[in-house]
């Protein structure tokens, strides 16, 4: 289950800007990947600026780069208190919701997951990542005000994905991996837990993705109460699997850049095989990329990954 929509643009010929501003262009990219590789899950794009943009942050859109937030929307406690909570569907969030809805219609029995940001990472987009990290130690109560607002919006946005018929969301919370385990346990997991409790049901799951987390963070991350945890390359997946109970599903963690983007197909096969071998005895592990597959990743490398995985009939 590699995370990646932008690689599908190599097939459709559309630009990144098309994919993040047009539901049909994004849908086509997801379907192209599915048709080429018989993907077992369909994901909407990981576009971690869209939620902050809904709040009013400025965003830089580019033809060949994933959108980036420019500057800080709020810099003081009073600005946080005055910040209005947007609605699901505001600005470009509608693109991702429509994509999810369209994929659900077209996907038959393939589960569709929407892509959303996590609360601490959203707070970082709004307040500045460095500044939010510092605030976690210097004025934690102010940070918590912003986190409550971020959580309120994410709840409505995730429920909107559920209303579209999605099977769940994959929530990317990369900035929380920069916190200490204790910090993560205070400024990320409780807010995600609230979202998980209010959105998950028999037909809708939360997959929590943290590409910055290390093994020391694991116990605090598990407090989030997600159905599945998806980790990046910094996570020692062997140790993580040894620590969690068999009913906790973990996924990851081939490096999206050094393996998928920058390796030769032979090297991709070698890395994939190595991870398969190391995790073979764990039925609660799903092999995946450790983060979003970068744009312009060679399709041959993705093909090699899928071939390696399918040969093992995982």
């Amino acid at each position: 289950m590699p995370i990646g929509v932008y690689a599908g643009l190599e097939i459709t010929g559309a630009t990144i800007k098309d994919a993040v501003t047009s539901a049909p262009a994004q849908t086509d990219a997801v379907l192209a990947l599915h048709e080429r590789f018989n993907t077992r899950v369909m994901l909407t794009a990981m576009d971690l600026s869209v939620e902050a943009e809904a709040f009013g942050s400025k965003v830089r859109l580019s033809v060949d780069e994933i959108p980036t937030i420019i500057g800080r929307l709020v810099t003081t406690e009073s600005e946080i208190e005055s910040l209005l909570c947007p609605s699901a569907g505001d600005r470009r969030t509608t693109v991702h919701l429509e994509t999810a809805g369209e994929l659900v219609k077209l996907s038959k029995d393939i589960p569709v997951l929407g892509g959303v940001i996590g609360p601490f990472s959203l707070a970082g987009r709004l307040f500045g990542v460095s500044e939010a990290l510092e605030l976690s130690l210097t004025e934690p109560e102010i940070l918590e005000k912003l986190l409550k607002l971020a959580t309120r919006f994410l709840l409505s946005y995730i429920k909107a994905f559920r209303d579209q018929g999605a099977a769940g969301v994959i929530m990317a919370e990369p900035a929380a991996g920069l916190l200490s385990p204790r910090g993560l346990g205070r400024f990320s997991s409780p807010f995600i837990r609230q979202i998980a409790e209010e959105t998950q049901n028999d037909h809708f799951s939360l997959v929590l993705h943290n590409c910055g987390a290390k093994i020391a963070h694991l116990p605090n991350i598990l407090e989030a109460g997600a159905e599945m945890y998806h980790f990046g390359a910094p996570m020692d997946i062997d140790k993580a699997l040894a620590q969690v109970s068999k009913d906790v599903i973990l996924a990851g963690n081939l490096d999206p850049t050094s393996v998928f983007h920058s390796s030769t197909p032979d090297e991709v096969a070698e890395h994939t095989q190595s991870l398969i071998n190391r995790t073979a005895s764990f039925k609660n592990f799903i092999i995946s990329s450790g983060c979003d597959i970068p744009p312009a990743t060679p399709l041959k490398n993705l093909e090699t990954f899928y071939n390696s995985v399918n040969l093992k009939n995982i």
Binding site: D64, E65, V129, S130, L133, K214, T257, S262, P294
Partner: protein, 214 residues
């Protein structure tokens, strides 16, 4: 260790900006030499911060607030160091390459290098090759630091290095690079002089390039 220096050291380690500034002022008023305060107070504390980070006891927030405290101390100390002609370990121009707005890694590296005794000239984010050249010509740095967070922008690191070579300044500086998608292999391929996977190790790489004891 002198009590005044110990207090500076502790306040940096604890990330207390206000106390660090006050402690530096108190130490100077007690005739503690500025260079000693710099080396045994601010720099020594940041070295310990780097070690605690590598040991997994400190994380990025702790590192950030310690660096802010160190900078507060430096703001008091810098004019005195300049007046006494005490030279920094080296001069570094640092920025994220063209197209890249992600500055947290660059900021952390800048703070850790400053905390290791380097003079930092931060030229910001989304820096075009021409602006790197301009900064090199203006500031005459020993080291140029470039970072990129994205695979789409990391290609602008070798482009910038090539441009600096074409303009005849490449061999006048050492180039260190970093960022999430960057690896030692990539650094070797594009002819960078140094790479570090995190801010703490970047300080050690920069010192090694300057021939300074770690």
């Amino acid at each position: 260790m002198d009590k005044n220096i110990q207090e500076v050291y502790d306040s940096v380690l604890n990330g207390n900006m206000t106390e660090t500034k006050q402690n530096v002022q108190t130490a100077l008023a007690s005739n503690v030499p500025a260079e000693e305060l710099l080396n045994n107070g601010l720099i020594a504390a940041m070295k310990e911060v780097g070690q605690l980070f590598e040991d997994g006891e400190y994380f990025v927030p702790e590192m950030l607030i310690s660096a802010r405290a160190m900078q507060a101390g430096m703001s008091v100390l810098r004019p005195i160091l300049v007046a006494q002609d005490i030279k920094p370990v080296g001069k570094v121009v640092i920025g994220t390459v063209k197209g890249d707005l992600h500055d947290i890694g660059k900021n952390l590296v800048s703070m850790m290098l400053e905390g290791s005794g380097f003079q930092m000239i931060d030229i910001g984010t989304d820096v075009a090759p021409e602006k790197f050249l301009e900064a090199i010509n203006e500031h005459k740095p020993d080291i140029v630091g470039m970072s990129a967070l994205l695979t789409t922008t990391m290609v602008n690191i070798p482009k910038t290095i090539t441009y600096l070579a074409e303009q005849g300044v490449r061999n006048k500086v050492k180039i260190i690079i970093g960022g999430a998608p960057i690896s030692q292999k990539f650094a070797d391929e594009i002819g960078a002089d140094g790479f570090a996977p995190d801010a703490s190790q970047a300080a050690a790489v920069a010192k090694r390039l300057m021939g300074v004891a770690l």
